[in-house]
């Protein structure tokens, strides 16, 4: 591990995995690893971010990501404000910028934003003076999810080199998929995408991943199987004809999992649709399911992200005169 409080990130925002260097990623994962240990001890509270303010701005409802950021910030001693921002009927770009201006006037140090439009976090980052963490922008990126997935894998497998990771399901609408493809490929894993053609974006091979429409073939020899959530409204005939057909051909059950390598790990960013993309018999089996562990890693990884960003902040706060 590098110097205890040396800089880890080159930028004051975490907008995506695309911009991250291997050193930055490794630095974050190392730091997160130390927080995993701390979180498991009785003394979980630290004063690292004492006096700092973190604002959670979620334009899309998300219990788990928002709580994870809140808990991470609180464990580091920061003040947390959860802004409830419903979707407004007025032009979204305008609303977002108006909100940004309002927020900026409150002088927070870190802004965590989730928005249904791709590029929202980046737009905000250009308009506010604080650090911005992208907690999901449309179908673009969700960097902390990919980082926590990487942390989970690294703790179980040691390294990424040569690992076969099969990401299965709704790749088209998934920011989790995009961030993971980019991040895991950077780390040396061999990424495969498994989905029906209707759930694969155009020219998805540009990411350098192997594409499979047959799940048996896609899972053959996989070290990690990462399932994605399929939104209910997408399985009524537009992208997929029905939930039962989806489960039959793309739902992870024990039989399909048998194609993967012995000792395979099963992951899911949650929340799960049981009986649609994943069978309970797989999701709940601690022999290969690390789904709960991902949640635990999420808090530690987000603490590391906040810590790393805070290292770049002026002592008196980002917005101090």
């Amino acid at each position: 591990m590098r110097g205890v409080d040396g800089p880890i990130l080159r930028t004051s925002h975490l907008l995506g995995t695309e911009q991250l260097s291997i050193d930055e990623i490794t630095g974050l994962l190392d730091l997160a690893g130390s927080y995993v240990g701390l979180n498991r001890t009785g003394d979980r509270k630290h004063a690292l971010l004492k006096g700092r303010t973190l604002v959670n701005m979620f334009f899309e409802a998300s219990t788990r990501t928002q709580s994870s950021f809140e808990l991470a910030a609180k464990r580091l001693g920061a003040d947390v404000l959860n802004m409830s921002v419903g979707t407004s009927s007025v032009s979204k770009g305008e609303t977002l910028l108006d909100t940004a201006a309002t927020l900026n006037a409150m002088r927070p140090d870190i802004l965590v934003v989730r928005h249904h439009d791709a590029g929202a976090a980046e737009l905000l980052s250009r308009k506010v003076d604080c650090c911005v963490v992208n907690a999901g922008d449309g179908a673009h990126e969700h960097p902390t999810q990919a980082l926590l997935d990487a942390l989970t894998i690294r703790r179980r497998r040691g390294s990424f080199e040569g690992l076969i990771v099969a990401i299965c399901g709704d790749i088209l609408h998934s920011r989790v998929a995009r961030s993971n493809i980019i991040l895991l490929s950077k780390l040396g894993a061999q990424v495969r995408l498994v989905a029906p053609r209707t759930l694969l974006p155009a020219r998805v091979e540009c990411f350098g991943a192997e594409i499979h429409t047959d799940m048996d073939r896609g899972l053959a020899g996989a070290d990690i199987v990462m399932m994605l959530r399929l939104q209910l409204e997408r399985m009524s005939g537009a992208f997929v004809p029905s939930a039962r057909e989806y489960f039959r051909f793309y739902g992870l059950d024990r039989e399909k999992l048998r194609r993967a390598k012995p000792g395979v790990l099963v992951m899911h960013p949650g929340p799960m649709n049981r009986g649609i993309e994943i069978d309970s018999a797989v999701a709940d089996n601690i022999e290969f399911s690390v789904i709960q562990e991902q949640v635990e890693m999420g808090v530690a990884l987000r603490m590391a992200v906040l810590d790393a960003l805070a290292r770049g902040l002026p002592r008196d706060g980002r917005n101090a005169p």
Partner: protein, 432 residues
């Protein structure tokens, strides 16, 4: 062991370009042996012998486009009555459309068709399933599960899916499973209310009409979508020169596209509507003579892959109407072969070439092993005299419906016997 010896036959097989005098031995329902030398040392004692009289013995025909009324309007046609008509036409495999009541859009309904066919039909019945639920053109069907249930292809039958986005996603999804999509090219808005082909004759008759472009527009759209999705696509039937040119261009670009033409559109043109003959009101409408000629040339050039009956039985009450209000559709199972043979007798195309459009090519498109003569395959066979003349008499047809567009017309080419799994399902001698 049951053996059947066909002697004194002219063996014709498009897949292997075989055209030779010879004999064929069937053992337990399968082709055991065939060729010019067979039985030179004598016919096996225990075999039943069929003297073929020098007639053509060929693989049974595969008709890729058959509408029946089962389930839902059995008064028009059942699988059983359609299969009798098919057998009489030398057809041993009929592919039935999902345009029934209810629509075949559920695995259990595919299973229903298969079970009803097994229980009642004398020829093989392969169901196509709907591409969109209730043929509404809105949401795709369970292509994976329907394929597992036995659907051979996916189609909305004689309906065109107008929503391009729905069509794109359905094609993309179908390509996931390598499923075949069969499209109908007739822009519904452009053809709304139309009873025949737009042109001078429709104007003289004062009938509402739709332009041939109603077909071309959809053909060209779907070709673009195939380009985008890579789906295997078959135009169930085309009827215009412009559509054919588009298909030919698409094929030359290597797209996985094939097309069919109905026997009606090879034999008849818009003038045959004559004095408002509703039995000649079909979908798509009979076209100009130039378009009909283009269809014949397309078959001869191998640009049109298959010839289909587009058998569409209609009850008398729906045809005894003014032309504008009469139902679309013509029966055709029993006239498919003789109409096709017209092209041979008119010296437009050779016998083997034409036979391919009715046997080996549809088998290839559908992924069937049948449609050819080969050792070990089920003995689905047709025995016909290509020259014998006969006049179409609707009263003598086997279909439950009588709406033939060829009443009284004379053709050459008589089916004498038809076999499925080595079992005789039609014998002309028994019907004389």
């Amino acid at each position: 062991m049951r053996r059947l010896a066909f002697t004194n036959a002219r063996l014709l097989d498009a897949a292997s370009s075989l055209d030779t005098p010879g004999a064929l031995l069937v053992e337990d329902g399968r082709i055991r042996e065939f060729g010019p030398q067979l039985f030179h040392d004598g016919i096996p004692d225990d075999a039943d012998t069929i003297d073929c009289n020098g007639w053509i013995l060929a693989p049974g025909l595969i008709d890729m486009r058959v509408f029946t009324g089962e389930p839902g309007s059995e008064h028009r046609e059942t699988l059983e009555s359609a299969s009798r008509a098919a057998a009489a036409g030398g057809i041993t495999t009929m592919v039935v459309m999902p345009n029934t009541e209810p629509v075949i859009d559920e695995p259990s309904l595919v299973d229903f068709i298969k079970r009803r066919a097994a229980a009642t039909a004398s020829v093989r019945v392969l169901p196509m399933a709907a591409l969109t639920r209730r043929l509404a053109g809105e949401s795709m069907t369970e292509i994976g599960l329907l394929t597992e249930a036995g659907a051979v292809a996916f189609t909305d039958g004689d309906r065109t899916i107008t929503n391009t986005r729905v069509m794109r996603l359905a094609l993309a999804y179908a390509s996931t499973f390598g499923a075949l999509v069969v499209g109908h090219a007739e822009d519904p808005e452009l053809s709304e209310g139309a009873a025949m082909n737009e042109g001078e004759f429709a104007t003289r008759l004062g009938l509402p009409s739709a332009p041939p472009a109603a077909e071309t527009i959809i053909v060209e759209r779907d070709i673009r979508l195939v380009e985008l999705t890579g789906a295997r696509y078959h135009f169930g039937q085309i009827s215009t020169r412009a559509a054919l040119e588009a298909v030919v261009a698409a094929k030359s670009r290597g797209l996985p596209i094939t097309c069919g033409v109905s026997a009606c559109h090879l034999a008849l043109n818009e003038l045959d509507v004559g004095s408002y003959l509703t039995f000649r009101k079909v979908k798509p409408p009979l076209r100009s003579e130039a378009d009909r000629e283009a269809m014949v040339e397309g078959v001869a050039a191998g640009e049109i892959d298959v010839i289909v009956s587009s058998h569409d039985p209609q009850a008398a009450d729906t045809k005894r109407q003014t032309f504008a209000h009469a139902a679309f559709g013509a029966i055709g199972l029993e006239t498919l072969l003789p109409v096709t043979l017209q092209l041979f007798h008119n010296e437009k195309a050779g016998l083997l070439h034409l036979l391919a459009t009715l046997t080996s090519t549809p088998a290839r498109i559908l992924g069937l092993e049948s449609g050819r003569l080969a050792r070990g395959l089920p003995a689905d066979l047709v025995l016909f005299d290509p020259d014998e003349p006969f006049a179409v008499d609707s009263a003598a047809l086997h279909s439950r419906a009588r709406n033939t567009p060829f009443e009284g017309q004379t053709f050459q080419g008589r089916v004498h016997q038809t076999y499925v799994d080595g079992i005789r399902v039609f014998d002309h001698a028994a019907h004389r």
